[in-house]
Symmetry: C2
Subunit: 375 residues, 2 copies
């Protein structure tokens, strides 16, 4: 079998796109939500559960894995897939976002980023070349360029500088990626919420040429409205025949609205993180299981959902588990949320296939708006 990486655009409905990302480790049906396996585990879930919810691909964090257990260590153990027991595709980010959000005493130079580990204060340097080397050592199927992420808000001048640096790093990342059959290398559009900068970034990346294009630097505090506006002018500047990945986004509403604006791929820690804190995402909107009103409620979160976490555990029991600080509560709600996210993506894909995406979008918003079923 020749290993091949590519994208097939199957169908469009308005700007919404239905496609397949082909990788050497299997296909990814798009629009796709990628559960985040930060340090090599989707927090609180067994990977067979992740698979059964319908996820074709998961994500790993270069920043976390380079610090512990280390890229060379993972390679020695046979690569990330073998290390964690996941046979499908894995996307790794490049570390840029976590250097901005997690690390201590960071310094950005032309050559790369130096920073201190948030775990033990050890010093590290991450250049575009090293970021690609780490992802190659991990054996990642989709490898992201190193980029410079900015906190929000920031000046236009800072956004422009970071975008220009990210473009130069993109060229170096692309060079370092080299030829890896069956694997893809994605560039990352930066430029804050500024149209001129975003278009310049997109244009620069297209000139370099990547297997896919990501929109980075969003969902960092600018709010949904500005985020969607930014997608509206950025997505059309990306090549039609390559996948588009909106990094680190988001709520179910964010996903649906971003698909409507031409995005194909998403990742976010929200379903697992919120699950650990007692919040469930459902087709009835968000439900906080810590709320006392659930204490007497024998109904499951969603009796019609195929995931046991949503359909086979009472709200009263979930409430009790969360109030008691039990692992099983965190496990069940993380599972339920990943399952809901995946069923939302399946619904989106089916609707685009059927040419009914706009109806689906309206009906889904309507049901979220109606809120939870009455007690």
């Amino acid at each position: 079998m020749t290993k091949y990486f590519g994208f097939t655009l199957l169908r469009k409905h308005g700007l919404a796109r239905r496609g397949i990302v082909h990788t050497g480790r299997g296909d990814i049906r798009t629009p796709a939500f990628m559960p985040v396996g930060t340090v090599g585990t989707v927090k609180g879930l067994y990977l067979n559960q992740v698979k059964e919810t319908g996820a074709d691909i998961i994500l790993g964090n270069t920043y976390h894995l380079m610090l512990r257990p280390g890229a060379e260590q993972v390679a020695k153990l046979g690569g990330l897939h073998k290390f964690i027991g996941w046979e499908g595709p894995i996307l790794t980010d490049s570390g840029g976002f976590q250097i901005m959000s997690l690390s201590k005493i960071r310094k950005i130079k032309e050559t790369g980023a130096t920073f201190q580990s948030h775990i033990d204060g050890r010093k590290f340097e991450l250049t575009p070349e090293r970021a690609m080397e780490i992802q190659r050592l991990l054996g990642s199927d989709i490898q992201m360029q190193l980029d410079q992420c900015l906190e929000f808000p920031h000046s236009e001048k800072d956004a422009e500088k970071a975008m220009e640096l990210s473009l130069r790093w993109a060229a170096r990342s692309r060079e370092a990626f080299g030829s890896q059959p069956g694997r893809g290398n994605f560039g990352i559009v930066q430029g804050g919420t500024n149209e001129r900068l975003r278009l310049k970034s997109a244009d620069g990346l297209r000139q370099i040429g990547f297997e896919g294009y990501a929109i980075g630097g969003l969902a960092v505090g600018e709010g949904q409205k500005l985020m969607l506006q930014t997608i509206e002018f950025t997505a059309p500047a990306l090549p039609e025949d390559h996948p588009r990945y909106l990094m680190g986004v988001g709520t179910p509403e964010d996903l649906l609205e971003s698909v409507a604006r031409g995005i194909d791929m998403f990742d976010c820690v929200m379903p697992t993180r919120s699950g650990r804190h007692g919040q469930a995402f459902t087709r009835f909107g968000r439900i906080n299981l810590r709320n006392a009103k659930h204490a007497d409620d024998p109904r499951p979160l969603d009796a019609e959902h195929s995931c046991p976490a949503l359909s086979q555990y009472s709200r009263a029991y979930l409430h009790h588990l969360m109030r008691s600080g039990e692992l099983l509560g965190m496990m069940l709600l993380s599972w339920a949320n990943i399952a809901y996210y995946q069923s939302l993506m399946q619904g989106i894909r089916d609707a685009i296939d059927a040419g009914t995406f706009e109806d689906f979008r309206a009906a889904t918003h309507e049901q979220w708006k109606r809120g939870d079923v009455a007690a």
Copy 2:
């Protein structure tokens, strides 16, 4: 179907006993280890995993459940089985042990125990009658009498007083249990490590008459040698045709040696608690996965075990998960430990069936002593 509670002694090998406890919710193969589902969850496991490891029965804690969510609340939600989703038998303790070990400002009177909740300081009274009422509300299949537990060490005089009070509470518990077809009520032998007191307690309980007999007040700091000695003179004083339950015990070694002295049933938080802290129990002895020597080890804990947690995850990955504080590490090691405990009990049962228990006992000790397989 008439609901029936009883015990069938199938076979003996030395003092080791192979039997079946029949309950209205199914049979329990003995010798049996009962995983502890403290507040209504075996910490870190799905109940179908617990079932698949071979557990016929789990335990719930009256003390914890009476505080949260409350016995009347569980009853309103259909009972403990329905609340947590476990169809097999459940044994509940009476709360005596947790009042001693967990609660604040406790006072023991002839009528019962008053204490403050360790959660919020609320005051509670637990009488023998209320302990039985709570267990009936929970719908427990094996209900324990209320007893007074003592910390170790204690004077003989205190042990005698507590034992005598526990006997009077036994009579009141038995009376309060009444008639519950398919369910059993167990008395608890007290008396510390003192033979005279233990025999007096056992004799008193036999005169009252229970469906089963427990040995309480052990594994509280007296050490394995004194514990086994106490079992040696206590077990023979218990009726041959009823199950014998050693409460709160213990390590795999404790289980094997107690079976050899005539014990049929066990419960302990050790497999799940130790698992959450990175310690695995295996046929090669105890293995601390936090130890740096596992960082490079691609082998599973026990390649030949049927449980995926033991056979399908590398020590290197388990080490990484524990060092990273990941939920999945706690989940896997809790699962692995419950699975090992259950396979040990299955080995014990098979050996008694085959008349080879002494060989099994010696071989098991030998393998524990040889320790872990070389790296």
